[in-house]
Symmetry: C2
Subunit: 119 residues, 2 copies
DNA sequence: CAAACAAATGAATAGATGTTCATATGTTAA
DNA sequence: TTAACATATGAACATCTATTCATTTGTTTG
């Protein structure tokens, strides 16, 4: 019950060979960072709900705000995030801006996630 | 330049029909929440890196800590998160705990995400 | 032009999250 | 049992993030 220095693999890993191999196969840090950034977008229920809604139909900001329990402002902020990650696209028609999903990746990512949580 | 009440679709959506249809098709809020929770897990570069590493090889906590620029503690904390979301599994061998990916969903979700950012 | 309204934006705030440090668990071996 | 060590965990802190409110921008129509 005494306290000791617990270095715990400070400069030493347990399986140097495996680690070396993994390191050589690992994508660049920047890529992994970008990937995490992408998933971060999906990691918010407001945004996921927006994406699922757009899966069914093209909608304007007002529609989305009405569909969910959030402000028009909140929806708009989130749409900006989705837009800048190229997950949604939009077209303007008069005062109204219609949003829709950008591509099939979005659908597939959502589906894979859904499969996971439903097993 | 005067300020007005700007209700902006306060009790009114622009396309009630589309909204009604979408609403009827939309998954339960709870499901969407869980889905977002899942993606949140992938939305951190440390965790994504761990997952990618485990894609190549089963590794122990020490190995993972050595592979990345984070503390053993940080890795352990994140492994706990990954574990509780059933994204990784583990087996104990003496003092060492080996972690590996839980199933193919993880791989597929990572792949879909990777595809998206690399186009 | 001015009013009306959908959408976007900036600032502020409250809440969530990841890391670190210190320490506790649990297992092996002397 | 005790030392050593891999792993886990709790608390504290700093950072990030999503929402709201207030306001602005941009478009249409009187």
């Amino acid at each position: 019950m005494e306290q000791k220095n617990v270095p715990c693999c400070e400069e030493e890993v347990v399986h140097p060979d495996a680690v070396a191999r993994v390191r050589s196969q690992l994508p660049e840090d920047e890529v992994l960072y970008d990937l995490a950034e992408l998933f971060k977008i999906f990691g918010d229920s407001t945004r996921v709900k927006i994406l699922y809604a757009l899966l069914e139909s093209e909608l304007c900001v007002c529609d989305l705000a009405g569909l969910m329990d959030v402000t028009q402002s909140a929806v708009s902020h989130q749409l900006r995030v989705l837009k800048s990650s190229k997950l949604v696209k939009f077209r303007r028609e008069g005062k109204t801006v219609y949003y829709s999903l950008a591509d099939e990746h979005v659908v597939r990512i959502l589906s894979q996630g859904m499969e996971h949580i439903q097993e």
